[in-house]
């Protein structure tokens, strides 16, 4: 069967299954089953598919997902998260959209710990969104900033996606990890500016609630009691990584265990709460990882048809100025990112892209940083984005998929703004590594 017929069938099939309400994970499963039957030698393909399902989630790099979810569950259910939030709030005063800014700040902070934006989304989503909704924040100012800043997990080291990209692109990992720092912080700043301006213009999105005047003594007391322990945990974990005692992925487990111990220390932890938190963790983890099995096999199937390769080759062979090729390629990648997962896109396209970039004479590190930002974008662009699914997973019935889509759109555009800035000013990327 011709690849374009298979492709059309695949997309029509998926659209139909989603439309009638088949759960996302099982819709992928259905389409994958049919596709491997057609492409992978009939029933032997379906047999191999069952092994592939196991394979696609038995990956060490996925470990932070259950661990961050557990962290979020414990902090949310025991109320520790709320304490920390209150204590931070007492310092922030009457800034417009302060909780949203807090979300961006936490996202940036956690990004130094986490290499996985899905894990960050699950943690921040379960922790912050309920609190923000309680204070009357709109989805635009709760879900949006979290989805945006969780993506910083990818743009600030450590970053699993970044390491995969650097090794697939064949560029020095060390230089690359240094090169993404300024773009990462730039993105965070863009979010801060946006949130401040938007909330100043439309206060109803983030109503300023009354905060009782608190004395400096009380602020300091709360800080010592609630913020300091969390800060110490974060510092301890970063030190353990730096000292070579634990790897970044392993440190997610340390974080989860530390939060459990902290909850016990505050005497907020009961066996029932612990059990419920674990149950919640299993629920969200299974849900996210089941979708991941579907999405990763889905991209294997697409790879097998060769469509992505054809697409990239077509655009790169147009006889237009290199910079236009670059921009067109970014647009193609954004479109691919709407439907596919970053790792799959990178595995499919990097083998084609890097030689083209080399031939045109662009700096490979510069291009790779732009690409990483683009790939991070793929996790938040509708209709398929693992961060979006993770957000829906932790919030369950509290929001609809449509509300999540609407909330994330401004942040997608801000990502694109950052992308454009990086293309216009390569120094933003190349300045730091030039010292190495």
């Amino acid at each position: 069967m011709e690849w374009y017929i298979v492709l059309t069938l695949i997309f029509l099939g998926l659209a139909f299954l989603f439309g009638i309400g088949v759960p996302v994970a099982f819709a992928f499963l259905a389409v994958n089953t049919v596709a491997v039957f057609l492409l992978w030698n009939g029933t032997s393909g379906i047999e191999l598919l069952t092994m592939d399902l196991f394979q696609s989630v038995s990956l060490f790099s996925l470990l932070p997902i259950p661990m961050f979810i557990l962290m979020g569950e414990i902090m949310f259910r025991t109320g520790i998260g709320a304490y920390v939030f209150e204590a931070l709030g007492k310092w922030l005063g009457a800034l417009p959209g302060r909780l949203s800014l807090l979300a961006v700040g936490s996202g940036t902070l956690f990004s130094a710990l986490s290499g996985s934006s899905v894990a960050s989304t699950a943690l921040l989503g379960s922790l912050l969104v309920p609190e923000m909704e309680k204070k009357g924040y709109s989805h635009n100012m709760s879900i949006g900033p979290i989805l945006g800043s969780a993506g910083l997990a990818t743009m600030i080291p450590p970053t699993a996606l970044g390491v995969i990209l650097a090794s697939l692109a064949g560029i020095p990992v060390g230089h690359f990890l240094v090169a993404i720092v300024i773009p990462g912080l730039l993105l965070a700043s863009i979010f801060v500016v946006y949130v401040t301006i938007r909330c100043a213009l439309q206060p109803e999105l983030a109503p300023s609630y009354h905060v009782e005047k608190v004395s400096m003594a009380e602020r300091i007391k709360d800080t010592v009691k609630y913020i300091l322990p969390i800060g110490l945990i974060v510092a301890a974990i970063v030190s353990l990584i730096m000292l070579g005692i634990a790897t970044p992925t392993e440190s997610a487990v340390l974080g989860a265990v530390a939060v459990v111990l902290l909850a016990a220390f505050y005497k907020r932890l009961s066996y029932r709460l612990l059990y419920e938190s674990l149950q919640g963790t299993l629920k969200t983890t299974a849900m996210i990882l089941m979708i991941m099995t579907g999405a990763s096999i889905f991209s294997q199937v697409l790879s097998f048809t060769g469509i992505t390769e054809n697409l990239i080759l077509y655009f790169s062979e147009l006889s237009i100025p290199p910079i236009l090729v670059l921009i067109l390629l970014q647009m193609v990648l954004i479109v691919l990112g709407c439907f596919l997962e970053p790792v799959s896109i990178m595995m499919m396209t990097l083998p084609l892209l890097m030689p083209i970039i080399g031939a045109v004479g662009f700096d490979k590190i510069w291009f790779s940083v732009i690409l990483l930002l683009n790939m991070q974008l793929a996790t938040i662009t509708p209709p398929f984005g693992m961060d979006l699914f993770a957000m829906k997973g932790v919030l369950a019935d509290k929001v609809s998929m449509g509300q999540i889509y609407r909330a994330v759109i401004p942040f997608i555009l801000l990502n694109v703004v950052c992308l454009v800035l990086l293309i216009m000013f390569p120094q933003l990327v190349l300045w730091l590594p030039s010292f190495m």
Binding site: W40, L59, S61, V163, P172, H175, T247, M347, M348, M354
Partner: protein, 315 residues
Amino acid sequence: QKTVTRASDEHSQEPVTFTAVSFLPKNDPLTITLNEWIEEVEKVTEGRVKIDWKGGANIIPVNLQFEALRSEIVDVLFTYTGQYHSQAPAVSALPLSQLSPWEERENGLYEEMVKEHKSLGVHYIGRWLSGSPRIWLNEPIEELAELDGMQIRSAPNYRRFFNEIGITSVMVAPTEVYTSLQTGVVNGFVYGGLVGPKRNGWTDASKYVLDHPFWNQNCTILMNDDKWNEISPEDQESIIEATAAYEENMVKHYLEEDEAEKEELTEAGVEFIQLSPQEAETFIDRAYEVEWGYLEDQVPDKVKRLRELTAKNKN
């Protein structure tokens, strides 16, 4: 000559296109010679056998690829013996061979390996990639004893040897190797061939190469047996001849690459360190003996012959 070709044309099979996958990505510098092999196959069969190389792990995850080959989901596989050696332990003699691919074809090791692979339902066509594993370290060493208790990033096939010389094998996920070397979770790594570590940035931390390469390359070109049998005997023969020629060029190519890489590594401040001649001999000896000891356990009746077939002619 020409009449023979024409005659075989008449009763040879329809042109076939076989799908292939590899364990490394398609653009990896290490896989570059595979394109030549594919071209040669098409040329010598006059287009009757075409190979459509789809890609690497993005098509089928690496550790499912051998199963996919057996199930005719793919027809050709560029892999390494570590992906299936538990199913036919004798194939582990390939990395223990001290011969060049062409010597292996002459002395009968090649035939022996074809037989072993046949028992798994696949046809062993030949080797690809050359270059032996070396240990790369964060700190220089002067004697073998210093390796004792050292934590080195390893892979399953190095465990027996590392145990033997006191190295602690640590498994580190590919995405974490860079950081683990930087922060000292591990004090080095083992890598087959010289090309790769620098590109991965691993030499940022590990600047000392223990320059005693041990073992041989274990990469193989395999075809599903049923698909192999679809090819006419004449074409099978030309493919085997072409592969033998490819192996010579391939070895030459990777040797040159290794030379060039060695220069670049030295320029980048990587040092190649040597043990004393005696210790070097012990090191290499143990590398081979521990593996032969293992094969003695696994396939006692085959070990004697395999040792003969892989040993260098001492004359």
